[in-house]
Amino acid sequence: MGPIAFLATRTLARSAARSLLVVLGLSVTGALLLDMTMLAGGLEASLGAIMTRLGFAVRVVPHGTLPFEGDAEIVDGDHLAAAIAAQPGVAAAVPILGTNVYVRRGPSRFPSFALGVPGGTPGMYAVFEGSDLPAARPGDPPVVINRTMAQLDGVKLGDTLVLSGVPGPYLQTFAALQPVHVIGIADFYFDLSGQRSLAIPTPFLRRLRDARDGSASVILVRMTQPRGAEALARWIAARDPRVDAFSIPGFLARAGRRLTYFNQFSLVLGTISVAVSFLLITTIVTLSVGERLGEIAMLRALGFSRARIGTLVLAEGIVLAAAALPGAFILGVAIAGYLDGILRSAPGVPQGLHFFTLTAGAVTRTALLLLGTGALGGVYPAMMAARQGIAATLHREVLS
């Protein structure tokens, strides 16, 4: 440890109670700063993590939409998927249909979100009981239901359900009904809180919905070389202007544009927390410098240059900020967990998503911001300390 860091640390330890109070205050403002940093990119980071885990490098959706947003369809999704699958570096292009259906189980009826998928499509859900949809199967089509349906409605493996595209017994008289056989229970990655979901082979869902053959809500593309995702997305968009194709970063950018209010919110509160930290550090370090003008003049007389004295005072601000970092992180993570729980319990929020995501980037940004604020907070007292005349100060100190 050099003399500057050594002196700065000892100086703060000299007024231990005062320094501790400042560090506690900075821990609180630092916690808020961490939370706002986590919130600023939290949804995108969480979404990005899920998307990366699912393994699809490119998503193709009807132009101007996001996946499963409204009833928009890619009219000839199967053909487009086949064309994409033929491109180099593409391992699979999977057309998925998403829609709402109504489920009858004995006397009870309830709505559910349904995914029409080709058999054995990993990446939309994870089966934890039973088995996944097979490629083809005679008889009643199989379905995989989500945990919510199993828990709320008591649906078990082997149960038979009846699906319809319309609600209520009277309308269902005139609509297609599809008995299905439950073969698996799974966690669906993008379920909303309390949402019932099921996966069914695509042709059966098209029939229920009276949708055109080949239609799809989204095409998910798995690549052997994910680095080519951006180029493939451009190729798809150029081939068919009725669709938008996104690599994961491109998708996150579009989703991010719809979440700007989170960024604005975090920017405002983050700025307030930086400003409060700055004022706290400036005030306390200025007070501290004012109390030891004689000592500072002595250090100058001993041979500490103006720049070194300025650095020493700046270091005090930085040490205060650094001492607050552990508390800020512990408190920030705890508060973020609590706030995340509140926001995630709101309706319409997919279960796997988090608003506050603790990433290395968020931790680094917060640490740098807080340390930078510490340095900035030390600027005024550092200038005050460095500018004072040695002889005049020593003279004043002797007279006082």
Partner: protein, 228 residues
């Protein structure tokens, strides 16, 4: 570099110092000329406000003359930049103050080591040097004590050891016994005299005639002028 007598540590040539004040300028020094050689123990006495401390500050390079020139080890302090002057003070000048100005959060040995660390000394070097300095001022058993645990005389001894840390050529003491009793003040004066006998140039500013009498060369000042 400026011309300087052989053996001279610091010279002041026709030095004046003027402070601009709202009621008109105050002339703290009016043309002081002075040379301090190695091994000299010089005392400067005089009434309050006569310019003793101002002269000391100019000799030590903590302030610059309004006119005239102060040369420290052959280099004019007016020609040196702020950081070069600070470096010169760090390596060649030791200061002892009336109020000691020891850092209260550091132990005696840490206070003494501070100038060495600032000068870039490695870890082992200060330790041995601090030990030797504590022996020199008779405070080996007080090495780990903080200033709050030391008497006035001990505080000033630690301050003297700190001033000697970087083996300076010039030691400047501004009323070093001002806050000490008579016996302790005399001990400090004798310590400064012994240091000058070891080859150090020592300049002592004091009101105390008995202390001033310990010096090998005595000056008196009045109204910014050396009178004898």
């Amino acid at each position: 570099m400026t011309a300087q007598e052989p053996g001279a540590v610091v010279t002041a040539a026709a030095v004046t110092k003027m402070y601009p004040m709202p009621g008109g300028p105050v002339h703290a020094l009016r043309g002081v000329t002075l040379t301090v050689e190695r091994g000299t123990f010089l005392s400067i006495a005089g009434p309050s406000g006569c310019g003793k401390s101002t002269l000391l500050h100019l000799l030590g390079g903590v302030d610059r003359p309004t006119t005239g020139e102060v040369s420290l080890l052959g280099r004019s302090t007016s020609a040196l930049g702020e950081s070069a002057l600070a470096r010169t003070r760090l390596r060649h000048v030791g200061f002892v103050f009336q109020r000691f100005f020891l850092l209260p959060m550091l132990t005696a040995e840490e206070n003494i080591a501070l100038p060495m660390l600032e000068a870039g000394a490695r870890t082992d070097e200060p330790r041995a040097r601090v030990r030797s300095l504590l022996e020199r001022v008779g405070l080996v058993d007080r090495a780990r004590h903080r200033p709050g645990q030391l008497s006035g005389g001990e505080l000033q001894r630690v301050a003297i050891a700190r001033a000697l840390a970087n083996r300076p050529a010039l030691l400047l003491a501004d009323e070093p016994t001002g806050e000490l009793d008579e016996a302790t003040g005399r001990e400090i004066g004798e310590l400064l005299r012994d240091l000058s006998r070891d080859g150090l140039a020592v300049v002592l500013v004091t009101h105390n005639q008995e202390l001033a009498a310990l010096a090998t060369r005595q000056l008196r000042m009045r109204d910014g002028v050396v009178t004898s």
